[in-house]
């Protein structure tokens, strides 16, 4: 359903993605792993038009995303939670959430989605009128994920959701991603530095190194491969 073929991204003379190809089936959670600078974030950014790919294609349900502007991509059912979460600090929690669904014309469903997010994340309901600036790291991550879900996406791109969070919060976030995928049939591409946590909830995994795919396979196989783990995943 998601088909990335020979994707190349460069920042000036520095190549970030050097011909990446991968495919993700519907409803599957795929972990994208690798060290710092392996190209994980660039992969997501190229998929949602935040950087222009030098060449190659990203095709989602028959639409070539690499041809679209960022603001059109969410309309194709693809939501991207960027690195560092992208919560807008000057807006209230509720405004942040509402913003995620504003492009949809169905007002009634937008209201329903908001209510669902508050049920998902009761902590956000308590803080709905506060500025997002006041939230803790974990709450911000919940807000960022909730805001992406307001779009009712079919494909969720998560960039390092565990970054800077305490292990117990990381576990909660991972559990949430697993539950979302199980409950709603959401397809997830999960970029993570924390390979152990990501592999525990993913069905498939891709390991990137220096802008190239090193291995693509079942998450369990990759977790079991000691040499691979040692070399690229750091555990």
């Amino acid at each position: 359903m998601l088909e990335v073929s020979d994707l190349r991204v460069a920042y000036g003379a520095v190549s970030a993605l050097d011909g990446v190809s991968l495919s993700v089936g519907p409803g599957v959670t795929t972990a994208v792993l690798g060290a710092n600078g392996a190209g994980k974030t660039s992969l997501l950014r190229a998929m949602t038009g935040m950087v222009r790919a030098k060449s190659g294609r990203v095709v989602w349900k028959g639409t070539e995303l690499t041809r679209l502007a960022s603001e059109e991509i969410v309309r194709q059912g693809v939501a991207h939670v960027p690195e560092g979460r992208g919560v807008i600090q000057d807006l209230t929690v509720e405004d942040n959430l509402r913003l995620g669904g504003l492009w949809r014309s169905d007002r009634e469903d937008r209201r329903k989605a908001l209510e669902e997010m508050y049920e998902f994340f009761p902590a956000l309901r308590e803080r709905r009128r506060r500025s997002a600036y006041t939230l803790s790291g974990g709450e911000r991550q919940m807000l960022a994920v909730g805001r992406a879900l307001m779009a009712r996406p079919e494909l969720l791109l998560l960039d390092e959701p565990s970054l800077g969070l305490a292990p117990i919060i990381v576990a909660q976030i991972m559990e949430l991603v697993a539950r979302l995928s199980a409950d709603t049939g959401l397809t997830v591409l999960l970029v993570e530095q924390n390979a152990r946590a990501a592999l525990s909830i993913s069905e498939r995994a891709v390991v990137l190194s220096l802008g190239k795919v090193v291995v693509e396979g079942a998450a369990a196989d990759i977790a079991a491969d000691e040499e691979l783990r040692h070399h690229y995943l750091g555990f």
Binding site: T48, G49, M50, A69, S70, E71, E72, I73, V74, R75, A79, H80, P82, G86, I88, Q89, D90, L91, D95, R98, L99, G100, L102, W103, Y133, R147, A151
Partner: protein
């Protein structure tokens, strides 16, 4: 009050695009000349007003699309230079089209003070009209930004354009709309102030300085702050002009600006927290 209108236009552009438009006053002057042309051709006050505001809307949008868009993703100084250049361009263009002699502009209502009992007070029907118009505009802006989803999209585009795009906000349109609305508010300010100061191609420079100070005093983020700042500026400048001499008014404005920047650089009414980048 008219400083308040102009200050609000600055606040509007700031909120919508994070750019301070130094050509705001010049654009307002230009719109006011457009209104003069309509009146010269036999149009009445209201026709001229509508035409000038419509002109302001289109001009604001065009300026954003053509001049500001290319520097939007560049360092803020680039946008400052572009708007300064625009200021000079617009003033020269107005002088070329309408000449640089001073024009008067008709007031729609009487400018003589109202009678309160037997006392004549320094408040004319025209002043009341100005106050009313500015209050309506301010209320409209507050509602737009605080209570509508369009306002929410505009704020998001200004704060975090990249994130807003990922959430499906068509940021380019929001920026264009922000400039267009600001130019409308600025044009209204120009037409309101014109009967009081006469009109020539450079006459909005002082007004812009005062409005800029008012916007800073009130906090660049806050329409209500712009209103209070504008009224406060008007009052303090009248005192400075009255007691110390008219020529010190501009100096007075800068003194206020510097004091506020030293004491509370984020403005008196702003709610956002300053961030170090």
């Amino acid at each position: 009050m008219v400083y308040a209108a102009m200050a609000m236009a600055l606040v509007l552009i700031w909120r919508a695009t994070r750019v301070v438009n130094f050509a705001q006053g010049a654009m307002a002057m230009f719109s006011t000349y457009v209104a003069v042309s309509v009146i010269d051709r036999g149009g009445d006050y209201w026709e001229a007003l509508v035409v000038a505001l419509a002109f302001g809307f289109v001009a604001g949008a065009v300026v954003e699309r053509v001049l500001v868009r290319p520097v939007e993703s560049k360092p803020p100084l680039n946008a400052v230079i572009v708007t300064l250049g625009l200021l000079i361009l617009v003033e020269s263009a107005a002088a070329m089209i309408w000449g640089d002699s001073v024009r008067s502009y008709p007031a729609r209502f009487s400018q003589t003070g109202l009678k309160l009992g037997s006392q004549r007070v320094a408040l004319s029907p025209f002043d009341l009209y100005i106050i009313g118009a500015v209050l309506v505009v301010m209320a409209g802006l507050v509602i737009l930004f605080r209570a509508t989803s369009l306002g929410l999209r505009m704020r998001a585009s200004a704060f975090e354009p990249e994130v807003a795009r990922l959430l499906g906000v068509r940021v380019g349109r929001m920026l264009t709309l922000g400039w267009a609305l600001a130019a409308v508010v600025g044009s209204l300010g120009g037409i309101l102030v014109a009967p009081k100061v006469f009109l020539d191609p450079n006459n909005m420079d002082d007004v812009l300085v005062y409005a800029f100070t008012a916007a800073i005093v009130g906090g660049l983020d806050s329409p209500v702050g712009a209103l209070v700042g504008g009224v406060g500026m008007g009052l303090s400048l009248s005192y400075v002009g009255g007691y110390l001499g008219y020529s010190l008014e501009t100096v007075g404005a800068f003194v206020i600006l510097i004091v506020v920047l030293m004491v509370r650089p984020e403005g008196l009414f702003t709610t956002t927290t300053p961030r170090r980048v």
